[in-house]
Amino acid sequence: MRGILAGLVLLGIFIAIPLRSTGYLLQLGTDTLAAVAIAYGWNLIGGFAGYFSFGQVSFYGLGAYATALLVLRAHLPWYFAAPAGGLVGGCAALLLGPIMLRLRGILFALGMLGLARILAVVFNQWRYAGGSVGLSLPAVLTPVSVYIGMGLLALVAFCITAYFVHSGFGLDVMSVNEDEDAAVSVGVPTTRVKVIAFVLSGFLPAIAGGLTAWNHSYIDPTSAFDPSIDLMTVVYVMFGGIGTLWGPFIGAVVLMIAGEEFLVYFPNLELALYGIVVIATVLAFPGGLVGLANRFGWLMRPIILAPRRLPAGSAPERAEPAGTLPVLEVRDLTVRFGGLTAVDRVSLSVARGETVCIIGANGAGKTTLFNAITGVIPASSGEILYHGAPVSHLPTFRRAQRGMARSFQIPRLMRSFTVWENVVLASRHGRQSHRVVEHAAWVLHTMGLAGMWRDPVSRLTPGFQRQLEFARVLALHPELVLLDEVMAGMTRAEQEDVRRVIRRLPEFGIAGVALVEHVIAAVADLCDRMVVLDFGRKIAEGPPAAVLADPAVVRAYLGEPL
């Protein structure tokens, strides 16, 4: 919190410097603040959510045009028109987000680049918006007023980013960047989270575009959708430090001022030099200036939602078991990939208090079955009932929120998060979301991770990482736990640790457990019932001893007896 206040004061002073001056310095200040706001906007989607966009200039241009048209055609004063332009940018992002954000990585980046091109052509043709000639706006009489407007925008951008690095919502956004599938599995509604970040990151450059259009009293398609604006933005953010609170501000200010002092000597090579800066930054110090400062312990991101000292926490209240319906019931579930039937009419159920173990050789469809139950892949046919209610129509994150938790074959933790943040992320979306901190603290204590709660995940041993993944599952306060080959590749001693945790699961209020396992010996005595899959079909079911003696199972799983 003190960091934020210091930041606001610093930003305020910085904004106040050119106020009394005129001409050159004021213009440089206005441009710098615009760069700061746009860089903060890009950082929200590119830095925090990890969706690099090479077309955020689309929103800048839309905001600029909306502002210009409102000023010219509706005769609105600029201080109403520019925020309205921001709303136009935000709405455009709201419409585009659900489409564009389905694409990941390179595809999103290039899709956005293409979008900016389309918009440039559209505005080139659109007579009402001035076509290729553009629009001229009335001259600005008081440049200071535009400067103040841009300063306010930069402050808003800073505050939004500060909210991202201090709030649970920010944690959700960063979890998208870390591992989107794992985020969904702990109940993060990733699509909604991404779209919100995208809308904010469209809103900020749109206002900056509007203010700039007003400031320059002129706008045309070439300047409004200038792709080099995206280059500059990316350079500022990378150089300052991507995904940080201070990076965009430091990067934009340092490079704008350095550019102003330095580029006089290279009048025509501006963009080439910026290109070199971004290459050098990525190769030599990918964390940017803030990343360098972090090495000395400066400008570190605070641990989100962390109390000063880890509270003892308390166990969630025991809910009375609701009825006698099985926790999970799968009826005739079929999953097809093209011509391949990976899961073929499998039915199974997990009753209250029961541990069911699903075994089968590699490729028997065990993990596919889990993926279909949790909704990661759609079932081709069949029904999935959770506490007697069908859940097939629910997205994965909703099933997790209702208490259907799963672990992954290889722990998929949020690697740049601390232990605390990994657990809190799940706790926020689980069935104890009304007491996030209390529950998270309790889980850490019971799982023996309290001593390292502030450590980054990358510092944990593999054993503790597995432990942390269990903690994350428990943080959802689930009723049904699906464990996917948690003992694969472990030593005997490590397996014993995991077995101990599995035995303790009922203590945590978990009504049913389903395990997928390869190592039969490690689970035979843990489960009440065993289900055997072979080539996607259920070939046996019953108490472990009986199943393992079944000749069909022996044939399928252990091989033909000689």
Binding site: G50, F52, F54, I99, M100, R102, L103, G105, I106, L107, A109, L110, G111, L113, G114, L115, R117, I118, V121, N124, Q125, P227, S228, L231, V234, V235, M238, N268, L269, E270, L271, A272, Y274, G275, I276, V277, V278, I279, V282, L283, P286
Partner: protein, 286 residues
């Protein structure tokens, strides 16, 4: 007759597109890197050809081998400097970081091209007449460059599928670990792929300047064009990309004739967004 004429022009344009797209596809397939400086390489080679052929009067096609070799060397130098160091971050992170690096490289190259050759659109006056055959007119320039491009692409396809070194490259693009286990030096293969990709892009530049006017600022349009074709044809699929290139060539020449130049220009972007909306699964590399 007119329809046939447009169709043939489209096919020839498509032949050129195959080369433009295939070179990007090669780098993407092997390294998971979309080279955003792709169009810049095309433009630089094209403008160089314009400048050099204009000064010396040499046949631009004779420059093709020279440009190919020089740009292959440029690629072989740039790859270990700029892209290889990112590979240690793992595929998905490297993918994004390399996007940044090539984005920077794109601007460096475009800016240099602007300094050397200015910002006006230029085209090489070469083979200006047309052949007529049964009432159809074939622009000589388009026939020669489209044909050359298709031939170079076919040669690439043959090399990838029929020679040992080509198969190494194909193997590395399908599974890096698998390739390492087979004793393939993946680092060298990546360098080879990048060098070859850059050289092929540059060759495309030499052929494009004969047919179409180029300027440094068209670099990104060419990159996106190549990317759209790859996306339509399927990432990493060489046959699919060839078909998509031909279809896009035809579609563009149809829209260019019936709707107008602007529509022709936006068509690839509209297709890109359309495919994203309708078939997002298409964009996942196999």
């Amino acid at each position: 007759m007119l329809a046939l004429q447009i169709l043939i022009n489209g096919l020839l344009l498509g032949g050129l597109y195959i080369l433009i797209a295939q070179s990007l596809n090669l780098i993407f397939g092997v390294m998971g890197v979309v080279n955003l400086a792709h169009g810049a390489f095309i433009v630089v080679a094209g403008l160089f050809t314009y400048w050099f052929a204009g000064r010396t009067g040499i046949n631009p096609l004779a420059l093709l081998p020279f440009v190919f070799v020089v740009m292959a060397l440029v690629g072989a130098v740039l790859q270990p400097l700029l892209v290889e160091p990112l590979m240690k971050f793992g595929r998905s992170k490297a993918e994004l970081l390399s996007l940044m690096v090539t984005f920077g490289l794109d601007y460096v190259l475009v800016e240099l091209a602007l300094q050397l050759w200015g910002s006006s659109f230029v085209s090489l006056p070469y083979l200006q007449s047309s052949w007529t055959l049964g009432g159809l007119a074939f622009s000589q320039a388009l026939v020669v460059s489209g044909g050359f491009a298709a031939a170079v692409s076919a040669l690439l396809y043959w090399w990838l599928n029929r020679t040992d070194s080509g198969k190494c490259l194909l193997a590395a693009s399908q599974s890096e670990t698998g390739a390492i286990c087979c004793g393939i030096d993946v680092r060298r293969v990546r360098m080879l792929a990048f060098a070859l990709g850059v050289a092929l892009a540059a060759s495309a530049g030499v052929l494009v300047i004969i047919v179409e006017a180029l300027a440094p600022q068209t670099a990104d349009d060419l990159t996106l064009l190549a990317f759209v074709i790859i996306a339509l044809g399927g990432l990493g699929s060489y046959a699919g990309v060839a078909v998509a290139a031909l279809l896009l060539g035809i579609a563009q020449s149809l829209t260019g004739y019936f709707v107008g130049g602007n529509a022709e220009y936006v068509l690839p972007y509209v297709l890109l967004i359309l495919v994203m909306v309708v078939r997002p699964g298409r964009f996942r590399p196999v």
